[in-house]
């Protein structure tokens, strides 16, 4: 005997997408469609234990849900003579499910909401299951889904048969990658996300059979998934593709991937990014050993992919492929362009790949430094250990020359604490980017200039000059005058004079206007002004706290209104009363209104939002 409630759950997951999709055509609101479908589920839970599970449970649920939907429409539109044919609507079709997918992945929703809603209404997962997979609380997911349904209802997009295929593909691949990037044993639950994404992809391939990119995505996911058993070693360390035991690749999934790829080729049109990535995956899967890999073809595919998706990661992968196809030097040449990509500044794979290529060129000492640098950037402990082990196996003759990392540490030690902290921010970043174990003598001005340009591409001249000062000071200390010339200070342009009162201020709330006016007229510090209490003020003398803060007619005109009838407590109050969790200090609480003192952060936010300027910039204008 089987547990009926478990059966209901299983049926629900298999059928919910079709039921919700069919209802969506009737009620045009995802949230309502799902509620009505849930009603049918409750009916099943009540009736199936007594009457047995029906032969076609999906159709049974659909009938009940449709009846509820018709009741609902009748109630909400009593004045209309309801057409009896409503009840004889056709069975939900494939198009309905596709439409539901487009709706749940609609670009009006933020990405997280698209993912959560898709897993809810298409995959039929419960909020608890989604929450577990994404390592957040169930409440967060429930709120995310509710907000997404509201947004869809408000935006009125529910019934648009729009063609936002790219967004759907993106969501599916995102779900897949979320599960795929989790490699450790504790994250086994997340592996389920890969299976959900595969299911969604396979479903989509049936719904939109003429779209090459859909089949490309399915092929890509099937082949990536086929390697899941071979991707990690016994200690959880990642195993790079060309070192994996190909005997552990799942041939069933590989063949399914190949079949999907054939369908992608049959669908006409120039190959898109998913088809190209799948083609690369196919090349790897076709090679019986790592040495058999057709790197020439793979590097050509990466070149085509780079035309469509010129991201640094694609370019990095292309450099790897070219390194195998045309030799390590060619790969290294491509990598040199990537040094200046800010996105890769902290990406551990860049130095790791460089280390590999240098090793194949016989430049062992440099290779070891790059691998160590990669290890210092790796976020995953298994990955870090793996890189360090590789670096340790390299036989490098002992180098007695001073290293960059220790030199920076020695230099900072020789300074006072405040200077050391300020300079340390600059020099640690430089050392990390160049590699802490790099011999100081090998750090060239050109490399330093590159690091500066990559790390601080768009800072204000003042900040830039602080970094330059730190570097020059270090260069002098380390007796490497070349380095001091690597970067030069930038001229600081005086800010243009600001208008005294902007038009937008006039429309602002009284509290803000008083605060800004007082700051302008008194030139007092923002903290001092926000800490004023009503009893500190001497309105007749236009001053406060024994005349250390004084103001003029503008503030004097507004102040009485702000004070109202209050006689003591903070002058500037926040909008809301504090919650029970975080009671403020007594001095920050107004005994008459129960509100707390306006915080610096909130005041700053309000000012920036209204005027685009900081509170500090209002002083003394």
């Amino acid at each position: 005997m089987t547990d009926v409630s478990a059966t209901v759950g299983a049926v629900w997951r298999q059928e919910s997408a079709r039921i919700v999709a069919g209802l969506l055509r009737l009620v045009r609101d995802v949230g309502l469609a799902e509620e009505l479908a849930q009603d049918a589920l409750v009916a099943a839970l009540e009736q199936w234990p007594a009457g047995g599970v029906p032969d076609n449970p999906g159709a049974w649920l659909m009938t009940i849900a449709k009846r509820r939907a018709v009741d609902h429409i009748r109630r909400s539109r009593t004045q209309e003579r309801l057409a009896p044919e409503l009840a004889q609507l056709p069975e939900p079709s494939q198009d309905d499910v596709l439409r539901l997918m487009f709706t749940s992945c609609h670009p009006v929703l933020p990405t997280e909401a698209r993912v959560a809603l898709t897993l809810r209404v298409i995959a039929g997962l419960s909020p608890a299951e989604i929450a577990r997979a994404f390592l957040v609380s169930e409440q967060v997911i429930a709120q995310r889904i509710a907000a997404a349904k509201r947004t869809l209802a408000d935006a009125g997009v529910a019934y648009e048969p729009s063609r936002q295929l790219a967004s759907v593909l993106e969501v599916v691949y995102l779900i897949f990658n979320e599960g795929y990037s989790a490699t450790s044993g504790a994250d086994l639950i997340r592996a389920d996300l890969c299976l959900e994404a595969l299911r969604l992809g396979r479903l989509l391939a049936v719904l939109a059979p003429d779209e090459a990119e859909v089949h490309g995505l399915v092929a890509l996911m099937e082949i990536q998934q086929s390697r899941s058993a071979a991707r990690t070693g016994p200690r959880g360390e990642p195993i790079p593709l060309h070192e994996q035991n190909r005997g552990r690749w799942d041939q069933l999934l590989i063949r399914r991937g190949f079949a999907a790829m054939l369908r992608a080729r049959e669908a006409a049109g120039p190959p898109g990014p998913y088809v190209l990535q799948a083609a690369i995956a196919v090349c790897h899967a076709q090679a019986h050993t790592a040495e058999d890999t057709d790197w020439v073809r793979i590097s050509a595919l990466y070149q085509a992919l780079e035309q469509l998706l010129p991201t640094p990661v694609v370019r990095l992968n292309r450099a790897v492929a070219v390194g195998f196809a045309q030799g390590p030097q060619a790969g290294l040449d491509l990598l040199d362009d990537l040094h200046t990509a800010p996105e890769l500044a902290d990406y551990h794979l860049l130095p790791s790949v460089r280390g590999d290529l240098l090793l194949r060129l016989g430049r062992t000492a440099e290779a070891r430094r790059e691998l160590e640098r990669g290890a210092s950037l790796a976020r995953n402990t298994a990955e870090r250990a793996f890189l360090l082990r590789r670096a340790a196996t390299l036989d490098v003759p002992e180098d007695q020359r001073p290293r960059l990392g220790p030199a920076v540490a020695d230099f900072l030690d020789s300074l006072g604490p405040a200077t050391a902290r300020a300079y340390g921010q600059t020099l640690h970043r430089v050392a990390r980017a160049a590699g802490v174990s790099l011999p100081l003598a090998e750090l060239t001005p050109a490399r330093v200039a590159e690091i500066f340009a990559t790390t601080w591409p768009s800072v204000a001249p003042r900040s830039w000059n602080r970094h330059v000062a730190a570097l020059r000071s270090f260069a002098t200390w380390a007796d490497t005058p070349d380095l001091a010339t690597a970067v030069s200070p930038r001229p600081v342009v005086a800010a243009p004079p600001r208008p005294a009162v902007t038009a937008s201020e006039e429309g602002c709330a009284l509290r803000e206007r008083v605060l800004w006016c007082l700051l302008r007229e008194s030139s007092a510090k923002v903290g001092a002004v926000l800490s004023l209490n009503v009893e500190d003020l001497d309105l007749a003398d236009r001053s406060a706290r024994n005349a250390t803060i004084v103001w003029r007619s503008g503030t004097a005109r507004l102040l009485p209104d702000l004070i109202g009838g209050r006689t003591r407590g903070p002058l500037f109050l926040s909008d809301r009363r504090p919650g029970p969790g975080r009671p403020p200090a007594a001095a920050d609480l107004c005994s008459e209104t129960g509100r707390r003192r306006l915080s610096y952060e909130r005041a700053e936010y309000l000012c920036k939002r209204a005027t685009g300027r900081t509170l500090g910039s209002l002083r003394g204008v």
Binding site: T2, A10, Q14, A191, R199, R202, S228
Partner: protein, 107 residues
């Protein structure tokens, strides 16, 4: 998780309706990404036994016809209940009989 469902031979005599229902069922499972592989088995088969260095090959059949495995389906589902539900629907189509289901260990 993957389950291997094996159908013992026998059941209702296949007619046109059964073929159509089965085709629709297989199509639906394939579309939803559940069905990974399926196939029918020759009920006869042959057997190989080893004892030390000695290998013996014996031609089938070995069991009564209705005890032999007639076909299999490899499905990928989230829970055991889903596998059960799929099998229940399958049995509704092919008629009374017996299926044996094993979970396939894997990644």
């Amino acid at each position: 998780m993957r389950y291997l469902m094996m159908q013992k031979a026998g059941g209702a005599e296949p007619d046109a309706q059964l073929y159509a229902d089965m085709a629709a069922f297989v199509e639906e499972l394939t579309a939803s990404g559940v069905l990974l592989a399926t196939g029918g088995l020759d009920p006869v088969g042959f057997k190989m036994t080893s004892a030390g260095d000695e290998i013996t090959v014996t031609d089938g059949p070995f069991t009564e016809a209705k005890e032999a495995i007639g076909g299999f389906a490899l499905v990928e589902v989230r829970t055991k209940e889903e596998a059960l539900e799929l099998c229940r629907r399958f049995r509704k189509i092919v008629g009374d009989g017996e299926s044996v289901i094993h979970q396939v260990y894997g990644p």
